[in-house]
Symmetry: C2
Subunit: 131 residues, 2 copies
């Protein structure tokens, strides 16, 4: 059972780091601290910017700062950027549809559990993760 991806892991720790740094930082200042590969972290940050979590500033002395207030960011906010949920009525095994889709009740039960887990991610604020 893999709750989060490495991308989410890096993202969460990086966001926390930016917050500690006063709310703004560039990838070059972060990656070594959280031991993430630089180009990978860049990709992650671009997605965070596209998703409205961060604002990016280009050029010298550029970097990233929070768009969404740090205190309001949940684990779910970040997780859903990198990992999609199974759609309502869908099968947990994406694209390639399951054999006996129609008669399969499994997907419903599994989805319910997934949803419950998601709700919990939603209730977990990243500001509280380092308590």
């Amino acid at each position: 059972m893999r709750i989060i991806k490495k991308e989410t892991d890096y993202a969460l720790r990086a966001l926390y780091f930016i917050h500690e740094k006063g709310g703004k930082a560039a990838v070059s200042q972060i990656y070594s601290q959280i031991k993430a590969p630089r180009p990978f972290l860049r990709k992650i940050f671009r997605m965070l910017a596209l998703s409205g979590i961060l604002i990016s500033k280009k050029g010298k002395n550029g970097g990233f700062e929070f768009k969404k207030p740090f205190n309001s960011i949940t684990l779910a906010d970040i997780n859903e950027i990198f990992d999609e949920m199974t759609p309502l009525g869908g099968c947990p095994f994406k694209n390639r549809i399951c054999s006996n889709f129609r008669s399969c009740a499994l997907k419903g039960k599994i989805r319910a559990i997934e949803q419950e887990t998601y709700q919990r991610l939603k209730r977990t604020y990243i500001k509280d993760m380092w308590d």
Copy 2:
């Protein structure tokens, strides 16, 4: 977020099928019904037997029957055969340990969520999955 693997999916549906067939069946009678690849299902069944869920009977007219009573089997029972949980105090990213393992509080929170999900799997009986 992937709650169960395909192996678990096949296993659950196959077990239900055996139950409907009166508690005993051979792989050759099952795989086409649940649309699982035969050799894959064989492997799955061997694991179910090794784990004490089923008993295997070799030879002609052989097959598999329940060792653990069907009504007592939970989703967790099957899931844990094919998917391991992160060990207590461990990092969700198996083998290759995380960079800042010591200072990382993330792993604790993630594990808590994983545990909660596991508890729910434990409370879900496969006999109830086709309601």
